[in-house]
């Protein structure tokens, strides 16, 4: 999108900004505190799952409120075969992706063949997530509600094959995932899937009239989104080392996934990232400010959080990224 314009001061500024951000992200664990690394890992995790969700909703316009299903399934599959058969995360990853894609395809098939969309589709996804939550409460093989615990091992020794190591390793893994997801999404959006998805999102009937096989492209969005989310689940399992159905499949988790992209800018490439960073900053920032002000009232932080969400929704309906991008000299486009 820059090829036909002469390079100018704006381009240099953008290049400088991108360089600075990249350097900052890569060097963060070297210079930042352990707390900063853990918060940044969380932000990257949210950015990644937000990106995955954004493929389905932001690009293709299919609303899922049950994405915790894929996080949970991915986590449980990889953790389950690790705990029971000693199969490491790299092999488990493929199984998790395969299973989540299959489940995503199944739900997509049901929904799209029967022309379920909008609120109904979102409730269908919630229902599947809830079914999984209660189901896993009754699967002893996965520990049931008692939890599935993974052996933690020595955290100061880096074991890439077993995905065991210090927090910085998890940070870089998440950074790679988030960057990879950004790359994949950028690529897809500039090619046929991106154009078709947008056409479907804006007006499905018109897209169909133009000869787009809307079913096929919607399926691609769902399968890709669930597969990407599955990887986040595998990460979650090996990062936290304990899984509880209540915690991972909960409705709150699904809401947490959608907040980033919606706050950041739905359907934009950088929206999920900006949104995730903003949410984490807001969360921890509010905690710090309240602590400094001497307010120790449990629940106060969440009230502030809710108020900020409300204000962002009211005053920045397109999310944080479009105005931010303009301020930074980028051309924000809802792709």
């Amino acid at each position: 999108m820059t090829s036909d314009r002469p390079a100018g001061a704006g381009d240099r500024r953008r290049l400088a900004l991108i360089t600075v951000v990249t350097v900052a992200l890569v060097t963060l664990p070297l210079v930042g505190s352990s707390y900063l690394v853990s918060v940044a890992t969380l932000a990257l995790y949210l950015a990644y799952v937000g990106q995955a969700w954004n493929v389905m909703m932001g690009f293709a316009g299919q609303l899922s409120l049950g994405h915790s299903l894929y996080v949970g399934l991915g986590a449980y599959v990889a953790a389950g075969i690790f705990v029971h058969f000693g199969v490491g995360p790299w092999a488990g990853l493929w199984l998790a992706v395969a299973i989540c894609s299959a489940v995503g395809a199944f739900i997509g098939l049901l929904a799209f063949r029967l022309r379920i969309s909008g609120v109904q589709l979102s409730l269908l996804t919630v229902a599947f997530a809830e079914l999984a939550r209660i189901g896993f409460d009754h699967l002893d093989w996965f520990g049931g509600p008692g939890g599935l615990f993974l052996r933690v091992g020595d955290r100061n020794h880096i074991d890439l094959l077993g995905f065991r190591g210090p927090p910085a390793m998890y940070y870089y893994a998440m950074l790679a995932l988030a960057a990879g997801a950004l790359g994949v999404c950028a690529l897809l959006l500039r090619r046929r899937p991106g154009y078709y998805w947008r056409a479907i999102r804006e007006d499905e009937v018109a897209a169909q009239a133009l000869g787009i096989d809307t079913f096929r492209w919607k399926m691609l969005a769902v399968v890709l989104s669930s597969a990407m989310t599955a990887i986040a689940g595998v990460f979650f399992a090996f990062y936290n080392n304990s899984l509880f159905p209540e915690q991972i499949f909960g409705f709150g988790r699904s809401i947490e996934i959608i907040l980033g992209p919606v706050i950041g800018g739905l359907g934009t490439l950088f929206g999920p990232i900006v949104g995730a960073v903003a949410l984490v900053l807001l969360g921890d920032g509010t905690t710090e400010i309240l602590a400094k002000a001497g307010v120790d009232l449990p629940g106060a932080r969440q009230v502030v959080h809710g108020l900020v969400l409300l204000l962002v929704t009211i005053y920045l309906p397109n999310g944080l990224w479009p105005p931010l991008a303009r301020a930074l000299g980028f051309q924000p486009r809802r792709l």
Partner: protein
């Protein structure tokens, strides 16, 4: 005040403040979100600790409180933050999942983590060197509770022949259920379990569960519950006019809690919990209860008994180790904690001496039989601690 202390922390970072005058204890509890009730109850025990420990041990403790918001990600990042702000020991965090996450941070950073309450056995099975727990894992609670059941029958000189086992299907409930199922055959208790009914912790209605239990005609209800479901369940029992010989929890919260007695009035009476508790005969418990009363005049100590006393004892363990180590260095503290030997009479919670085994677990925490008598949870067994007389079988409610 918090603002001042935060400023002080920035002004005198940890490595400069090598003086050993004060121990900074980071307390992580779920004070908002789904577990807010228990988190805030635990917090009360910690809040009372600094002043009382200054008097008793002559050491200075500063609490750094953090709310995990009943969320595992928050638990982890709050733990990191507390350490960054200079916490030398962590205490928390009630929920097993959150505790597991905090334990990883503590282990990674080499800062001792003293678990106040969390019953998942796996927490002390990870080979951690900085994680310590003075709270029995669920199977141990279950075993202690079942053994006490035999004591109840001996004391009452009457025993049920059949029992129905109802349990909430959450982390704690399931661990307890497994323990009970494994132990019952070995303990030669006089009754047979005729049915096991697990129910959803989020269930909004327990009518069918209760009528299913009632239909078994069992003489004893063995119940592993939480608070809200316990209230709904007990109400439903009254409505369906089911009066078994006893309602006994082999070691869960719920029945001895404030809202259970307040909300149910006389129907809350005579329910029994065989549970971890505080030791009412210890001097330190009296001092603690008095300090608690002074700080929280509106709260009844007994209702916060377990949460507050185990949390207080976790801070006590930290203070005791600090006193012996004469250092705030986390490694020295961890070593001192490992050497802990607090006599049974110098702790608030009920059990033997506080000594950590190789895994960092305290063995020998004991349970007592608590019965709600006239709206107040009262120790009825073992005899040496009893504050009231056991009522069993419980009178039929009309």
């Amino acid at each position: 005040m918090a603002a001042a202390s935060t400023l002080a922390m920035y002004a005198f970072p940890r490595r400069l403040g090598a003086e050993t005058a004060k121990l900074k204890v980071g307390v992580l509890l779920p004070r908002s979100g789904l577990q807010a009730l228990i988190g805030q109850s635990c917090q009360r025990g910690a809040d009372v600790a600094p002043e009382l420990l200054r008097q008793r041990l002559g050491v200075d403790i500063e609490l750094m409180n953090a709310d995990t918001e009943s969320n595992v990600d928050t638990a982890r990042s709050r733990a990191e933050r507390l350490i960054e702000q200079g916490a030398q020991v962590l205490v928390g965090a009630f929920d097993s999942g959150h505790t597991a996450a905090i334990a990883q941070v503590a282990e990674q950073r080499g800062v001792p983590h003293i678990v106040n309450i969390a019953a998942a056995p796996q927490i002390t099975e990870q080979g951690y060197k900085f994680v310590f727990r003075n709270f029995p894992p669920a199977p141990e609670i279950g075993r202690n509770g079942l053994v006490l059941l035999g004591d109840i029958f001996r004391e009452a000189k009457v025993a049920p022949k059949t029992a129905v086992f109802m349990h909430v299907n959450d982390t704690f409930g399931q661990a307890m259920a497994k323990g009970v199922a494994a132990l019952l055959p070995k303990l030669s208790l006089p009754f047979k379990v005729v049915d096991t009914i697990p129910y959803d912790p989020a269930a909004k209605d327990l009518t069918v569960e209760v009528s299913r239990a009632k239909a078994t005609n069992a003489e004893l209800l063995l119940l592993v519950c939480r608070l809200n479901d316990a209230i709904v369940l007990r109400r439903e029992m009254v409505k369906q006019r089911w009066s078994p010989m006893g309602v006994v929890s082999p070691g869960s919260p719920g029945l001895y809690e404030e809202q259970f007695s307040k909300g149910l009035g006389k129907y809350g009476d005579n329910c029994i919990s065989n549970t971890v508790w505080f030791n009412p005969k210890n001097q330190i418990t009296h001092d603690f209860a008095a300090a608690f009363k002074k700080r929280f005049p509106k709260d009844e100590f007994a209702f916060h008994g377990i949460n507050a006393s185990y949390t207080f004892d976790a801070v006590l363990i930290a203070a005791d180790a600090f006193k012996r180590a004469r250092s705030t260095d986390p490694k020295a503290l961890a070593e001192a904690i490992r050497q802990t030997n607090i006599p049974a009479t110098d702790r608030v919670s009920f059990g033997g001496p506080i000594k950590f085994n190789a895994k960092g677990q305290v063995d020998g925490n004991r349970s007592v039989v608590i019965q709600n008598l006239r709206g107040k949870p009262t120790v009825v067994l073992p005899a040496e601690l009893a504050e009231g007389k056991l009522v069993f079988p419980m009178p039929k409610v009309s």
